[in-house]
């Protein structure tokens, strides 16, 4: 699942090691005796693999999306490998008003789930980073634990709880909020949004924690000494300094949310909560809908590409700092 994205933008730990290696590398730049092909040849198998099984497949998506040809016998999509022959009309054909509705719904769900995650995640990350004290390690373990629990297992847990006879209904009825069990799993948008929050929020908290934990406390003391009240100190010191973490964490959770299809499937399954990912999955697996499905993948990629490139940029910068 979202593990794919949880690569924190925090540079490698030891700044001391980084600075000493800088000294030594400047001393020995262009070292004699090391053949120039040595290191590229180490990278070659991995890069070759990624070209063949990452770049080529991405190109294949474009080739299928931009082609409107179908195999005459099997009615499966035929890719158009030559970009000169690409037909942008095929991309436009994939569009329909119904898809527009789904897209708007996806944006609403992802927007709500993302803001809710930030609203819950920031105080948690802040507390652990600033006031964790002796419990910091324990809290961190508890916060990291969901990373290593399969997403599907975590959704399964909620399906158990949200069943008509499940604990959620029973508690709400015991308290008197509900008179009879509610079908939380029968197409409730609220369930889907909360499911998204539950699924992805750990991936937001970790980079947030890392950026809050790095803030130098003396800066806050200085702000206080200079007369800022806590709210001002937070708004002018803590918040700006954690901006990086907020942005990185948000991107990390927004990317997989846009491509999610299993959460609405598991927690609702109704057409009125269908997200963009569900449409992609449906068309790609429907045999003749391959071109349309691929075109939707292209649309999705275009939507998230801005987020992706922003994230790649920050990671590359962090890696450069770490050197």
């Amino acid at each position: 699942m979202g593990f794919n994205l949880v690569l924190t933008v925090i540079p490698a730990r030891s700044t001391k090691a980084a600075s000493t290696s800088e000294v030594s590398s400047s001393r020995s730049g262009g070292r004699v005796g090391l053949p120039r092909w040595l290191w590229p040849s180490f990278a070659a198998p991995g890069l070759g693999w990624l070209v063949l099984l990452f770049l080529v497949p991405i190109y294949a998506v474009l080739a299928v999306a931009m082609s409107s040809r179908l195999d005459p016998i099997f009615a499966t999509p035929v890719p158009e490998w030559n970009p000169v022959q690409w037909d942008p009309g095929a991309l436009a054909d994939a569009w329909s008003p119904q898809l527009g509705t789904v897209l708007v719904r996806t944006f609403i769900y992802v927007g709500l789930a993302g803001s809710l995650s930030l609203l819950i995640g920031y105080p948690v990350a802040y507390y652990v980073a600033r006031h964790g004290g002796k419990l910091k390690a324990l809290l961190l373990v508890l916060i990291i634990a969901p990373f290593w629990i399969s997403y599907l297992m975590r959704m399964l847990s909620w399906v158990n709880l949200l069943q008509p006879s499940g604990y959620v209904n029973r508690i709400l009825m015991a308290v008197g909020i509900l008179q009879e069990p509610r079908g939380w799993l029968d197409g409730e948008p609220l369930t889907v949004v909360l499911g998204l929050v539950y699924g992805y929020i750990p991936f937001l908290i970790l980079p947030l924690f890392a950026s809050l934990d790095r803030i130098d406390r003396s800066l806050l003391e200085a702000a206080r000494d200079l007369g800022a009240n806590p709210a001002r100190a937070f708004a002018h010191v803590t918040l700006p300094l954690s901006k990086q973490g907020i942005l990185a964490g948000s991107v990390i959770i927004l990317l997989p949310m846009f491509g999610d299809y299993y959460t609405p499937d598991l927690l609702s399954g109704a057409t009125r909560t269908t997200m963009f990912g569900n449409q992609i999955y449906f068309f790609l697996n429907s045999g003749t809908g391959g071109n349309k499905g691929a075109a939707m993948v292209v649309i999705l990629s275009a939507i998230v590409s801005l987020l992706m490139f922003y994230y790649l940029y920050t990671v590359a910068r962090a890696a450069k700092e770490a050197r």
Binding site: L53, V61, N160, G259
Partner: protein
């Protein structure tokens, strides 16, 4: 520290108001609202999973009413238990098989790629780095559908099912190995290799005798992490599955959770949870204990924190 609280005696202020004010204006006071939010969050994130685990031990069929403890869904039930149901067993086997092979293929490729990218300074290294990071930010749905399309149109000799799933898992795992190993490489620096070469070792000897042993903990951590992410993967496995025989545990959970599930599904998920937790705990322990120059002070906390930063 608490002396920072304001002490201006103001007659018009009631004492309770002053207390609130003093508390509010003391930056080092222990917060009250935040710990409540934090612990509620922790409960919210962990308790549902614990309840799901609990129901895997339920004596009855229900996944919402506790009917007593039993190992029925693990061992005893003749048809539906984990031990006896062929579907559940095959999913478990498929998940473990994929994770094992992915680990063994992706780790060497990733370690070599990390070494190459960290040391290679020439033209092309920037593009290489970029290509390595790209799979990490690509939504899995995009990657899964791209691989699905390429295996059904271009590389049709790779059959959907285990071969395609294995290739897909290795593809998304390589970048994780690079991230883990690269973090260690940066921390080690270049001095050790250079010292070895100054003393007459060839580049290959320096690599084999000095750098690789120093990297061993990171390599082990990478193995375990690849195992864990492969076992937990859903989207790639789902897109590239052939028939029922190549369904992994997450795929099986997906297709059964809304149909007619018994607590055996919970039992299956619990077993997988144990596997991936075990892998991660091993990775953390090994990485910390054997990493040269580990930080002093609170070992437990720094281990976790370090892990959170570099490895995940």
């Amino acid at each position: 520290m608490s002396s920072l609280a304001e002490r201006r005696p103001k007659a018009e202020q009631t004492s309770s108001l002053r207390l609130v004010r003093a508390w509010f204006s003391n930056p080092w006071a222990r917060p009250r609202f935040l710990p409540v939010v934090t612990w509620l969050y922790v409960l919210w994130s962990i308790v549902p999973v614990i309840i799901a685990i609990q129901f895997s031990f339920n004596a009855g069929r229900s996944r919402s009413t506790w009917q007593g403890f039993s190992l029925r869904w693990y061992l005893d039930d003749p048809d539906l238990s984990l031990l006896h149901n062929p579907l559940l067993r095959s999913a478990l086997g498929q998940s473990l098989k994929l994770a094992l092979f992915t680990m063994l293929i992706a780790t060497p490729i990733g370690v070599a790629l990390a070494l190459g990218l960290a040391r290679w300074r020439g033209r092309g290294s920037g593009a290489g780095n970029f290509l390595m990071l790209f799979p990490l930010v690509t939504p899995e749905l995009v990657m899964g559908s791209a691989l699905f399309i390429v295996f059904t149109t271009l590389l049709t000799f790779v059959g959907l099912g285990t071969p395609a799933q294995l290739l897909g898992h290795v593809t998304f795992s390589i970048s994780y190995v690079v991230i883990v190993v690269r973090g260690r490489l940066f921390a080690i620096g270049k001095e050790f290799e250079e010292a070895a070469m100054d003393l007459g070792a060839s580049p290959v000897q320096a690599l084999r005798l000095i750098l690789l042993p120093m990297l061993a903990p990171a390599v082990f951590a990478a193995l375990m992490i690849v195992f864990a992410i492969s076992i937990d993967d859903f989207v790639i496995s789902q897109f590239l599955k052939g028939g029922a025989s190549s369904e992994t545990v997450p795929v099986l959970i997906y297709s059964n959770v809304r149909a007619a599930p018994t607590p055996a599904l919970n039992a299956l998920a619990t077993v997988m949870l144990v596997f991936s937790m075990l892998a991660i705990v091993l990775a953390i322990l090994f990485h910390r204990r054997f990493a040269p120059g580990g930080p002093k002070g609170q070992p437990g906390e720094s281990a976790v924190r370090d892990f959170a930063r570099l490895e995940i």
